[in-house]
């Protein structure tokens, strides 16, 4: 079983829809949770990161962490065609392991249709 599971998609939504992207994980020691966006043939771009539980909002993006369920989510409001990309979650048990080794999900391909 992988430490981080992420549905590969593709997920197709109409422009303006609310998008929900999710990851589940098995390691309860994970403390740092990141979301990256990756366009084709580019490197990942950090969107948001959260420490421990709770919500974090940045513009149209909201990240949620539910440590009791070992489940994290990224919500995109008013989605735009320019949001079409692969979204990667990543997490780390920095305090437990003493290092900043991030475990990535496989990524979810999102297509926002105009």
């Amino acid at each position: 079983q992988k430490e981080v599971e992420q549905d590969p998609g593709p997920l197709s939504v109409p422009e303006g829809a609310i998008v929900s992207l999710n990851c589940t994980y098995s390691n309860s020691a994970f403390q740092y949770f990141m979301w990256y966006r990756q366009y084709s043939r580019k490197g990942p771009e950090l969107l948001m990161y959260t420490y421990s539980s709770g919500n974090k909002e940045d513009g149209r993006f909201t990240a949620q962490v539910d440590k009791s369920s070992k489940y994290i989510s990224l919500f995109i409001r008013d989605s735009q065609p320019s949001d079409s990309a692969t979204y990667l979650c990543a997490m780390s048990d920095a305090f437990a392991s003493g290092t900043y080794k991030y475990i990535f999900g496989t990524g979810t391909r999102l297509k926002v249709l105009a």
Binding site: G43, T99, Y100
Partner: protein, 112 residues
Amino acid sequence: EAGVTQFPSHSVIEKGQTVTLRCDPISGHDNLYWYRRVMGKEIKFLLHFVKESKQDESGMPNNRFLAERTGGTYSTLKVQPAELEDSGVYFCASSRGSVAEYFGPGTRLTVT
């Protein structure tokens, strides 16, 4: 501010040859990470430098891989000798803090 740069963007080599990948982090970033994505799989951690020191190299696949970071600036990742399973995209990332904030565009390595 210039981003993380990687060279070459694409390399095609034969099995048994040697390849050296280079990463130039954002100036002033002490933390430098190498990651790799093999086709169809997730991005996997290779190692983490803090300045010139290897903080964590637990993800390095085997002793055919050698990473260096001279003077705490740019880093190189050498694969010698290359095997077919080494094919993939190698990413470098840098940051001031602990979160791998800025990724480079990657080097696509193809071993034939």
